[in-house]
Symmetry: C4
Amino acid sequence: VDRDRIEIFSDAVFAVAITLLILDLRVPDTSGSVINGLADRWPTFAAFGISFVIVGCIWISHYRVFRNVREVDTVLLFLNLALLMTVVLVPFGTSLMAAFVTHADMQSHVAAALFSSILLLMGLSFAAVYMRIAQQQATGTEPATQPRSFVATLRFAVGLVVYALCVGLSFVNAVVVMVLIAAVAVYYIVDALASPPQVR
Amino acid sequence: VDRDRIEIFSDAVFAVAITLLILDLRVPDTSGSVINGLADRWPTFAAFGISFVIVGCIWISHYRVFRNVREVDTVLLFLNLALLMTVVLVPFGTSLMAAFVTHADMQSHVAAALFSSILLLMGLSFAAVYMRIAQQQATGTEPATQPRSFVATLRFAVGLVVYALCVGLSFVNAVVVMVLIAAVAVYYIVDALASPPQVR
Amino acid sequence: VDRDRIEIFSDAVFAVAITLLILDLRVPDTSGSVINGLADRWPTFAAFGISFVIVGCIWISHYRVFRNVREVDTVLLFLNLALLMTVVLVPFGTSLMAAFVTHADMQSHVAAALFSSILLLMGLSFAAVYMRIAQQQATGTEPATQPRSFVATLRFAVGLVVYALCVGLSFVNAVVVMVLIAAVAVYYIVDALASPPQVR
Amino acid sequence: VDRDRIEIFSDAVFAVAITLLILDLRVPDTSGSVINGLADRWPTFAAFGISFVIVGCIWISHYRVFRNVREVDTVLLFLNLALLMTVVLVPFGTSLMAAFVTHADMQSHVAAALFSSILLLMGLSFAAVYMRIAQQQATGTEPATQPRSFVATLRFAVGLVVYALCVGLSFVNAVVVMVLIAAVAVYYIVDALASPPQVR
């Protein structure tokens, strides 16, 4: 099948990005206490967990959406590349968020806004990939599948709306933004477990 | 087959995690002696070897268990993602163990307990993945295979029990824990060589 | 098909190289301003974006060219390895460019010339891979496909010519070189969207 | 085919290891001259080139040897894992060699001996993988292929002999060892281009 290689390349990028998240977890200075050293860096661990789940959920969505694709055209290749670029940015956004979330107001606000923006861009890129595939199916290039219901679309859009809200909320409180982003991650797990595969 | 992509993504995560272990092996300061510089860091090399074998063995088990899976459902996707999260944490736990095993009591105890906990979580996640696949086979969703014998289950559980013991033993002596974990790695090699593939 | 593994290995190298670009984006010093810290490093972000698109476009070309390859011979394996070596050098060239583009004349000139040279070598290696495949098809080892038109060859060569020009222009102005390289990246996106797959 | 996943995992490890070689190429201090900064680190670039070719050649040999494998048994899985462990050690050995080759006698000798030993272990692991596959073919588990000629075996063994010599020669002159290892890399390229695939 034609889609093989785009999936292998995407899987490898997802895998490297999700594994690079670990580089942010640093071993504490050996002259001090391990527990204090790790506790002082709690935002790093929280951010690692949140980002791992978010990238994992996007991979699961990618896996589901591409299952029924038969032909990959150039537009889809570039939309997928844009999605992967946002995925690659996630470890950077995660480090930024973790480094500044406990800092003075303005710095934590900017970091949270940048992290939220990367996630928003990732969600929008995924939506673009999804819509391209749906469009190909609608025009008959792809085999028709049961159309994504209005409810399913709404359920996916919840994440995008929360990410967009988070960009604004970042300038109020960065910790609240981190909690909201964690809530979206949990929401996508529950949503994926509750719903049948998206395209099929 | 449906399981292709979950295997490619998992293989890539295993491969990146196992290769990132090397980042902990640092070139000694060029102003001093190479041999002393490397000898001072013996725990890093020991931990690298142990973790490489542990991740390698889990990959071999993953390879065997997924060989007969036909259909991947969402629950299995998330259990596999949880397993991969623990695999990604192994290089961090390895660094922590290597950095503190030769240090003052309390610090080495905490580091050993955290490393043991990551391995215990990895073993438990793998058991959850295995049980989900066995459950699907029992309910007929998957083709029935020869059921895993009680003896085979016991043999796998040995590792889990030792990892759990190690969490406790960490607060007695970290070097003993490192030796025990190395012994489990050797045990899993011998067990894999002595036994037929797990699910088939 | 014989070509499977060369594609998987290449995809993995492309994926790791494109993801390692992110390692250059560093979190600013937490004692200062996030915005200033990031703004001071604007060349890093510009270079990340440009290199990501360039490596992404080369991957898309690789994907297209290899689609109709049936038999991989040793010469093609080594030409492909040479191409991958230049791809692996891109993150280094990108860091070099980003670090020196805003510096004193001579340093920025040398950095730009090295970055341009890596891209030129990548383009030439890709041309060699392409010509080997075309040659195999012409001699009947490979199934004949519609020959690449003179116009298509010219369109691909535009990038090579600009990269070669950039090596020289580097000694005039490094920022101009960076803008030209960004323009080539955009050009290849437009060219890929406007043209049918290359070999087929 | 059963061998699919061992190839994907191996390809990913090879790809990550070959790409991590780039991490040793560091951007020079921005306060000084780019050319001098890079020229001072010439051993890093030489070692990068040599190791890239060596890992690339081992990948090509791996690709050829596994092409006709039909069934992967547990012994082969572990021999392959041992080979991958030596591959993962190559970037570390390369850094060590590059850091010390221009240093005082004793330090350069030790570094060269360690680098040569890693390459020797890699060659021996590959020979073990090869012999296991040949043994399976001889006992009929695998389809019989034209047996590897005595001449071909000799040609492969040349590298092992030179690597073993290099371990000893390291204590005479590290630069000579580096030149010899580079010569072996060139030898394997020429040998691969001159000979038909190994197992088939």
